[in-house]
C-alpha cells in the first residue's frame, strides 16, 4: 500500500464512523456536528484522489451552507443540550434495512464498474477546475441544464409551499 492509499482508507474510516455517530447519537445538535466531520473526511478523500474542485465545493456547499441551514433549523425548533430520549422512531428496523440494501447496491455497482480502474494520482490533472469545467460545458452540458431546471422547479415549489397567501385558485377567480 502506498502512503496515499493508507491516508485514503483512514479518511474513509473517519467518514464512516462519524456517519454512524450521526444516526446513533442521542444529542441532536451533535448529530449535525458529526455530519460536519463526515463531510470534511469525504472532502479530504476527494483531495487525496486529486479532485480538488469537488473537494472544495463539498466544503463550501455542505459544511458552509447545508449544515448551517440544518443547525439553524434545529436550533429554531428544539435543541436541548444533553441527550434526548425520543430521537428513535419505530421505523428503525425499516430504516436499517433500506440503508443496508442501498449501500449493498451502491458498493456492488461501484466495485463491478470500477473495481480494477487504477490511476496514478501523482501526475493526474483530471480533477482540476479547468478539466472539470470543460468536461461539463462541452460534453455534459445537457444533463447540466436539465439539473438546473430541476433545481429551479424545486425553488419555485419551495416558494409556493412557504407562502400561505397564495393558495389554490378559488371558485370564480380566473
Amino acid at each position: 500500500m502506498t502512503a496515499a492509499e493508507i491516508v485514503f482508507v483512514l479518511l474513509g474510516v473517519v467518514a464512516l464512523a462519524s456517519g454512524v455517530l450521526v444516526v446513533t447519537t442521542r444529542q441532536i445538535v451533535r448529530a449535525a456536528l458529526y455530519l460536519v466531520v463526515s463531510f470534511g473526511a469525504i472532502a479530504a478523500c476527494f483531495l487525496v484522489l486529486t479532485a480538488e474542485l469537488v473537494a472544495w465545493v463539498q466544503v463550501l456547499i455542505y459544511v458552509g451552507a447545508v449544515v448551517v441551514l440544518l443547525l439553524f433549523g434545529i436550533m429554531l425548533t428544539r435543541a436541548p443540550i444533553g441527550p434526548s430520549s425520543d430521537l428513535d422512531s419505530r421505523n428503525k428496523p425499516a430504516a436499517v434495512t433500506v440503508a443496508v440494501a442501498a449501500a449493498g447496491v451502491l458498493v456492488t455497482v461501484v466495485v463491478s464498474g470500477f473495481g480494477d480502474a487504477y490511476f496514478e494520482v501523482g501526475e493526474s490533472r483530471a480533477g482540476s477546475a479547468s478539466v472539470i469545467g470543460s468536461g461539463i460545458f462541452r460534453y455534459w452540458v445537457l444533463p447540466f441544464e436539465v439539473l438546473s431546471v430541476l433545481l429551479l422547479a424545486a425553488l419555485v415549489g419551495a416558494i409556493v409551499l412557504s407562502r400561505t397567501d397564495i393558495g389554490p385558485p378559488k371558485d370564480g377567480d380566473g
Partner: protein, 319 residues
C-alpha cells in the same frame, strides 16, 4: 520545495497571522478614539499606548476559564478554535507579491471561500453550547446572516474569476488591470459588504448586538477563549481586506515598482481597507434583522447577478 523552505514559509504565515490582527486591533483603538474626539489607550508601552493589546492578551491569559453548568462542555471548548483556525489556513494561499505566497493553489479562490464559510460554524456552535438564551439567539442570528450573505459573496468573487479566466489568486492579480476598478466596482462593493456581514462587523453586528443580547454567542466566554474570538474577528478583518485587495484592487500591483515594492503596495491597500472597516463601524448605526435580510436578498443578490451578466457580456465582447 525543500522541507526547510516549507517550514520557513509556514513560519512567516504564522508570524503574519499573529502580527497583522494586532496591528488592525491597535488601529481600531486609535482611529475610533480620534473619530470620537478622545485619545484611546495612551499608557501601556509608553508611546501612544502601542502595547495595549499585548497587555490585554496577558490579562486574558491570567483570567479564569468559566464553563457554565448548563453548557455542552466539548462543543463549548471547541468553538473558539473553529472560529479562528480557518483564517490562519486562508492566509497560507494569499499572495502578497509576485511569487510571494506560501502555497499557490490552482483553485485558490474556491479554497478561500470554502474555508471562510467554515468559520461561522464556530459562532453557531458557541451560541448553542453556552446554554444561555441570549447566546442561542445570537447563534441563530449569525446562522441566518451567513446564509443570506454567503450567496452574494460567492457570486461577486466568481465575477472576478470570470473576468480573469482563472481561479488562482496569483493569476487573478496578474490578469488585473486598472480599468477593472470601474468594470468590477459593483462586485467590489458587494464582496466587501457581504464580507463585513460574515464577520459580524458593525453595521452588520446584529448577532452580537450588545444592547440587546449582551454579546450574542460570546456571552458566556471568559479569559483566553474569549480572546480567541476577539482575535478571530481581527484575523477576519485582515483576511477580508487581503482578499478584497487581491481580487479587486490588484494585490501587489502599484503605480510603480511592482516587482520590488509588491508587498508594500499590498500592505498599504490592506490597511486602507482595514481603516474603512473601522470607519464604517464608528459612523453607522446597526441594521435590524429584517433590514439585513432585505439588503442581502433584494439588493445584493440581484446586483451580483447583474454584475455576473455584465462581466460575461464584456468578456465575450472583448475576445
Amino acid at each position: 520545495m525543500t522541507f526547510l523552505e516549507i517550514l520557513l514559509r509556514l513560519a512567516l504565515v504564522v508570524a503574519a497571522f499573529l502580527l497583522l490582527p494586532l496591528l488592525v486591533g491597535q488601529l481600531e483603538h486609535k482611529a475610533m478614539a480620534h473619530m470620537q474626539a478622545r485619545l484611546g489607550p495612551m499608557h501601556a508601552g509608553g508611546f501612544h499606548g502601542w502595547a495595549q493589546l499585548i497587555a490585554d492578551g496577558v490579562k486574558f491569559v491570567q483570567k479564569e476559564h468559566v464553563v457554565p453548568a448548563q453548557a455542552d462542555r466539548t462543543v463549548f471548548s471547541l468553538a473558539p478554535a473553529i472560529a479562528l483556525l480557518p483564517y490562519l489556513v486562508i492566509l497560507v494561499v494569499i499572495p502578497v507579491g509576485p511569487g510571494l505566497v506560501a502555497l499557490d493553489l490552482d483553485i485558490g479562490l474556491f479554497f478561500v471561500l470554502a474555508v471562510m464559510s467554515v468559520s461561522v460554524l464556530g459562532s453557531v456552535m458557541a451560541g448553542w453550547s453556552s446554554g444561555n438564551k441570549y447566546a442561542l439567539l445570537g447563534g441563530l442570528r449569525s446562522a441566518a446572516q451567513l446564509m443570506a450573505y454567503e450567496l452574494p459573496l460567492v457570486l461577486a468573487a466568481s465575477s472576478v474569476a470570470m473576468a480573469a479566466g482563472t481561479l488562482s489568486l496569483s493569476g487573478i492579480v496578474e490578469a488585473w488591470s486598472p480599468w477593472w476598478l470601474a468594470w468590477q466596482a459593483p462586485a467590489l462593493l458587494i464582496f466587501f459588504v457581504a464580507g463585513l456581514a460574515e464577520l459580524h462587523r458593525p453595521p452588520f453586528d446584529m448577532p452580537v448586538a450588545d444592547s440587546e443580547i449582551v454579546l450574542g454567542p460570546y456571552t458566556e466566554y471568559t479569559g483566553l477563549r474569549f480572546a480567541l474570538f476577539l482575535l478571530a474577528e481581527y484575523a477576519g478583518i485582515v483576511v477580508l481586506c487581503a482578499l478584497t485587495t487581491v481580487l479587486f484592487l490588484g494585490g501587489w500591483r502599484g503605480p510603480f515598482g511592482d516587482e520590488a515594492l509588491g508587498p508594500i503596495w499590498f500592505l498599504i491597500k490592506l490597511f486602507v481597507l482595514a481603516f474603512v472597516v473601522i470607519w464604517l463601524r464608528v459612523s453607522n448605526p446597526r441594521l435590524r434583522a429584517d433590514q439585513l435580510q432585505k439588503l442581502a436578498w433584494q439588493v445584493l443578490v440581484p446586483l451580483s447577478l447583474g454584475q455576473l451578466a455584465l462581466t460575461g457580456v464584456v468578456k465575450v465582447a472583448m475576445v
